[in-house]
C-alpha cells in the first residue's frame, strides 16, 4: 500500500509534526516569558492577548504549553527509544536462544513487572537523584519488559517460518538473520506498542514530576502543568484543559502514525 492511500499515517504525521514544530519553536521563542509572573493576570481567562489564559501565577499558559510540549516530547521519546531498543534486543536474544537464557531473561522481566511501575521509578530516581536524564533512564528501564515480551513472541512466531529456516540452512550468521529476516517482519508490532508506550511515558513523567522528582519548577512539562492545575479546576478550568488537549492531540497523532504503520505491507 502506498503512503498516498494511507490517511491515518498522513494525518498522524501532520498532527504530530505540528506539535513537534510548536515544541521546537518553543525552545527558541515564546509569545511571553514562561516564568514572568503578574498578579493582575492571575487566572485570567483566555483572551486575544493570552489565547490559553493565565495560570495561578499569572503566567501565559500558551507559552508554557509550548515549552512543556518540548519537555514532554523529549522525555517520552527518549524513554521509549531507550526501552524499545534495549527491550527488543533482550527479547530477540531470549526468543532466539531459548533454554535457560530465555528463562533467566524472562523471569528478570517478571521481577521488574511485579513492582508497581511508579514505585520502581521512585526507587530509581531516589537512588540516581532527580533530573531530566535520570528520569529518562528510570522510566526507560520500566519500559524494557513490555518490549522484550513482544520481541520475544515475534521471534518465536517467525523462528519456525520457512524463510528463516532457509536462511539458517544457507548458513547466515545469527546477527544477519535477526536484522534481515526477523526485524523487517517484527517491527510493525513493536512500533505499534511503542505508540501505546509513548502514552504511558507521558503519564509516568507527569506522575514523577508531580512527586517532585521529575521536571523541577518553574520549568514546565505538560504533565506537570495538569497536576498543578488540578487544584484550580473550579476557578480556572482552562489551566488544565489546554495542556490536556495538547497531550490528547499528541497521543492521537502518535496513535494514528502507529495505525498507519501497521497498514504498510
Amino acid at each position: 500500500m502506498k503512503i498516498k492511500n494511507n490517511p491515518s499515517l498522513i494525518i498522524g504525521i501532520i498532527i504530530t509534526g505540528l506539535i513537534l514544530l510548536m515544541a521546537i519553536v518553543g525552545l527558541f521563542w515564546t509569545p511571553y516569558s514562561t516564568t514572568q509572573m503578574d498578579i493582575s493576570l492571575k487566572f485570567a481567562p483566555p483572551s486575544f492577548a493570552h489565547i490559553f489564559g493565565c495560570d495561578n501565577f499569572g503566567r501565559d499558559i500558551f507559552s508554557r504549553v509550548m515549552q512543556g510540549a518540548g519537555t514532554t516530547f523529549l522525555v517520552s521519546l527518549s524513554t521509549i527509544a531507550f526501552g524499545m531498543v534495549t527491550g527488543t534486543i533482550i527479547g530477540f536474544l531470549a526468543g532466539y536462544s531459548g533454554g535457560w537464557l530465555d528463562e533467566v531473561i524472562m523471569r528478570a522481566n517478571d521481577v521488574i513487572n511485579a513492582f508497581p511501575s511508579l514505585l520502581l521509578a521512585l526507587v530509581f530516581v531516589s537512588f540516581l537523584g532527580s533530573g531530566l536524564l535520570n528520569i529518562i533512564l528510570a522510566l526507560g528501564i520500566l519500559f524494557i519488559p513490555s518490549f522484550a515480551r513482544i520481541a520475544r513472541s515475534e521471534m518465536l512466531r517467525l523462528k519456525g517460518m520457512q524463510f528463516v529456516q532457509s536462511a539458517v540452512l544457507i548458513g547466515d550468521s545469527r546477527g544477519r538473520i535477526i536484522f534481515s529476516q526477523i526485524l523487517p517482519n517484527a517491527y510493525i508490532s513493536i512500533l505499534s506498542s511503542a505508540a501505546v508506550g509513548f502514552n504511558n511515558a507521558v503519564i509516568a513523567e507527569a506522575g514523577l514530576s508531580y512527586l517532585g522528582l521529575g521536571v523541577q519548577p518553574p520549568d514546565a512539562s505538560l504533565g506537570r502543568m495538569i497536576n498543578e492545575a488540578g487544584s484550580f479546576l473550579m476557578q480556572a478550568p482552562w489551566y488544565a484543559i489546554f495542556p490536556g488537549v495538547a497531550i490528547i492531540v499528541l497521543v492521537l497523532g502518535v496513535a494514528l502514525i502507529s495505525d498507519g504503520v501497521s497498514k504498510i505491507d
Binding site: 509572573m37 498578579i39 519548577p217 518553574p218 487544584s231 479546576l233
Partner: protein, 509 residues
C-alpha cells in the same frame, strides 16, 4: 414458568422495600443530597482530616507539630495552653511562681483522675516531668530544670538551676501515669478530654469521650476520628463527599472549591514561613548578600499570589500571635527595592549575581509556590536560583538535620514561651539549622531568658527580633493564613497560638 416469575417479582419487591426502609430509618436531616457526613450528628462524632502521619503517640516524644495538635486532646500538663496564648491550670488547680523565678509550687486539682479512673498522684507528676526532661536533654529549656520536690500528697515544687520566668510554659508537658510506663505507645493514658480508642498507622486515630474529665460538661462530642489525608486536593474532595467534617491548612484558592455546607474560618497557622539561608555557606555568610536578597524578595506578592493577601507578612522569626513580645517594626525593616538589592550585591562583590539551589520539601504546596515566586524575584537582580523539590523525610534528614543546603523554604514553629522562637538561632543550639552565629544575639538571648522583670523581658525579646531582621539571618516571609473548613452543623471551633486542634469545645448545633 409463570409461577417462577411471580416469585421473582415478589422477591425483588421485598428487597426493594427492605432497602428503602433501611435508608429511611432514623430521621437524618443532613442526608438530603448535601453530602455532609450522614451519621455524624446522630452518633455525635466528628472526622478531622490531618495532613501528616503521627510520628508518635507518646506525647513526650512527639516531634511533629501535626502530632502535637492531635495529642492536645488526649493529654494535659500541670497547666495547659488557652486560645489567647496564656496558660490555665489543668492537672494542678493552682500554682505560684517564686519571686526569684527559681521555683514553682503546684497544688494538684481535687479529685483529678486519669481517663482510666485512677487518681493522679504527686509521684506521677514527678515521674512525668523527669521523663520529659530526660527526653528533651541538654540544649533545651530543661537545662534549667533541677528537680521535682514532693511536699505532700497534693503539693509539688519544681526547682530550677537558673531563674527562668518562662519555665511555667514548659509545664504544659503531659502528665502520664507511672504505672503505664511500658505501654505509653500502645495504650496511651492521659488526663485530657478524650481518651485513646484505636490507632491504625497511616490511616486514623480514634479517640472517645473521657467520662472522667475534670471540666464539667466537656467534651461535647462522643467520638473524634483523626484521619490522615495524603494531600490537600484529596482533602477537598473528601470534604465535599462528606468523609471529613473538619480540615485545616487550606489556601484561599482551595477554600473556594469547598461546598457551601462548610463554614470557612480564618486564622493563622502560627508558623514563621520563609526562605531560610545557610549562614555558614558562601555567599550567604555575607550579610550584604542576605540583605540584598531580602530587598529583592517581594513578600507582599507572595502573600497576594499564594494566600490571597490573607497572610500576615513578617520580618523576623516570631509570629504576630505572640502579641506582647512581637516586634512589628521588623515588618518594615526591608521593602521591595530592586535598586537597593543590586547596589548591595555590587558592594558584596557579586555585581553579576550568583547561582544557588533552593531545597523545597514537597509536602505543603504553598512552599513550592513561594519558591517559584522567589526565583522569579531574584532573577530581576541577576541571581539565578534553582528549585530542588524533595520528599519531606529527605528534606528533614539532609537539610534540617545535616544542614546540607544553600537555602530552603520551610516553616518553623514555636510554643507559648517566647524563647522557643529564638532557640533555633542561638549559635550553640542543636537546632540551629541555619548556622546563624551572632555573639551579640546569644548574649541578649541569655539575658532575656533569665530576666525576671516582665517589661525588661519584653524589651529584650523585641531587640532579639530586630537583630535577626537587621542581620537578615533568613528571609522571613509570612505567618501563612490558615483557612479551616468546618461542617456548618458544628460550632465552637477555636484557634490556638500553638499547635492544637481543640475538639473538646466543638459541638453540634
Amino acid at each position: 414458568m409463570k409461577k417462577i416469575r411471580i416469585i421473582l417479582c415478589s422477591l425483588i419487591a421485598l428487597v426493594t422495600v427492605g432497602v428503602l426502609v433501611a435508608c429511611g430509618g432514623g430521621d437524618n436531616p443532613s442526608g438530603q443530597g448535601s453530602g455532609t457526613s450522614t451519621d455524624g450528628k446522630a452518633s455525635n462524632s466528628v472526622v478531622v482530616g490531618i495532613s501528616q502521619e503521627l510520628d508518635s503517640l507518646d506525647p513526650h516524644n512527639a516531634a511533629y507539630a501535626g502530632t502535637r495538635e492531635v495529642l492536645f486532646n488526649m493529654f494535659e500538663g500541670l497547666v495547659k495552653a488557652t486560645p489567647t496564648g496564656d496558660i490555665e491550670p489543668a492537672v494542678a488547680s493552682e500554682y505560684t511562681v517564686a519571686e526569684d523565678a527559681m521555683s514553682i509550687t503546684f497544688k494538684l486539682r481535687d479529685g483529678i483522675v486519669f481517663c482510666d479512673g485512677t487518681p493522679v498522684t504527686v509521684e506521677d507528676v514527678k515521674y512525668s516531668i523527669d521523663r520529659y526532661a530526660g527526653i528533651q536533654g541538654e540544649g533545651s529549656a530543661f537545662s534549667d530544670y533541677k528537680d521535682t520536690e514532693i511536699v505532700d500528697d497534693k503539693t509539688v515544687i519544681i526547682n530550677l538551676v537558673n531563674p527562668n520566668t518562662e519555665f511555667i510554659f514548659e509545664l504544659t508537658c503531659a502528665i502520664l501515669p507511672e504505672a503505664n510506663d511500658a505501654n505509653v505507645n500502645s495504650n496511651p493514658i492521659g488526663t485530657g478530654p478524650f481518651k485513646y480508642d484505636s490507632y491504625t498507622p497511616g490511616d486514623k486515630l480514634v479517640v472517645v469521650k473521657n467520662e472522667n474529665y475534670w471540666k464539667p460538661g466537656q467534651p461535647y462530642l462522643d467520638k473524634v476520628t483523626f484521619k490522615v489525608v495524603a494531600d490537600t486536593d484529596m482533602a477537598v474532595m473528601q470534604l465535599n463527599s462528606g468523609t471529613l467534617d473538619i480540615y485545616q491548612y487550606l489556601t484561599a484558592d482551595q477554600a473556594m472549591t469547598v461546598g457551601n455546607n462548610f463554614n470557612i474560618l480564618e486564622g493563622n497557622v502560627n508558623y514563621v514561613q520563609g526562605m531560610f539561608l545557610n549562614n555558614a555557606r558562601a555567599p550567604f555568610d555575607n550579610i550584604k548578600v542576605r540583605q540584598a536578597i531580602y530587598y529583592a524578595v517581594d513578600r507582599d506578592l507572595i502573600n497576594d499570589m499564594v494566600f490571597g493577601g490573607k497572610s500576615h507578612v513578617i520580618g523576623t522569626n516570631m509570629i504576630p500571635g505572640a502579641s506582647k513580645y512581637y516586634n512589628a517594626d521588623t515588618e518594615k525593616t526591608y521593602t521591595h527595592d530592586v535598586e537597593k538589592a543590586k547596589q548591595l550585591l555590587a558592594e558584596a562583590g557579586y555585581p553579576d549575581g550568583f547561582t544557588f539551589t533552593i531545597t523545597v520539601p514537597n509536602n505543603y504546596a504553598p512552599h513550592e509556590s513561594t519558591a517559584q515566586i522567589i526565583v522569579e524575584s531574584l532573577a530581576e537582580v541577576g541571581i539565578t536560583a534553582k528549585i530542588n523539590l524533595v520528599e519531606f523525610n529527605t528534606w528533614h534528614a539532609e537539610a534540617y538535620v545535616d544542614r546540607n543546603y544553600d537555602a530552603t523554604i520551610t516553616a518553623v514553629d514555636g510554643r507559648l514561651a517566647p524563647f522557643t522562637w529564638f532557640i533555633k538561632n542561638v549559635s550553640t543550639g542543636n537546632k540551629n539549622f541555619t548556622n546563624y552565629n551572632n555573639p551579640k544575639f546569644d548574649e541578649l538571648y541569655n539575658k532575656a531568658i533569665s530576666s525576671i522583670d516582665p517589661d525588661e523581658k519584653v524589651e529584650y525579646y523585641k531587640q532579639l527580633q530586630q537583630i535577626l531582621a537587621d542581620d537578615a539571618a533568613s528571609i522571613y516571609v509570612q505567618d501563612p493564613s490558615n483557612l479551616v473548613a468546618v461542617n456548618n452543623q458544628l460550632e465552637g471551633y477555636v484557634f490556638y497560638p500553638v499547635s492544637a486542634q481543640d475538639m473538646s469545645v466543638v459541638k453540634y448545633k
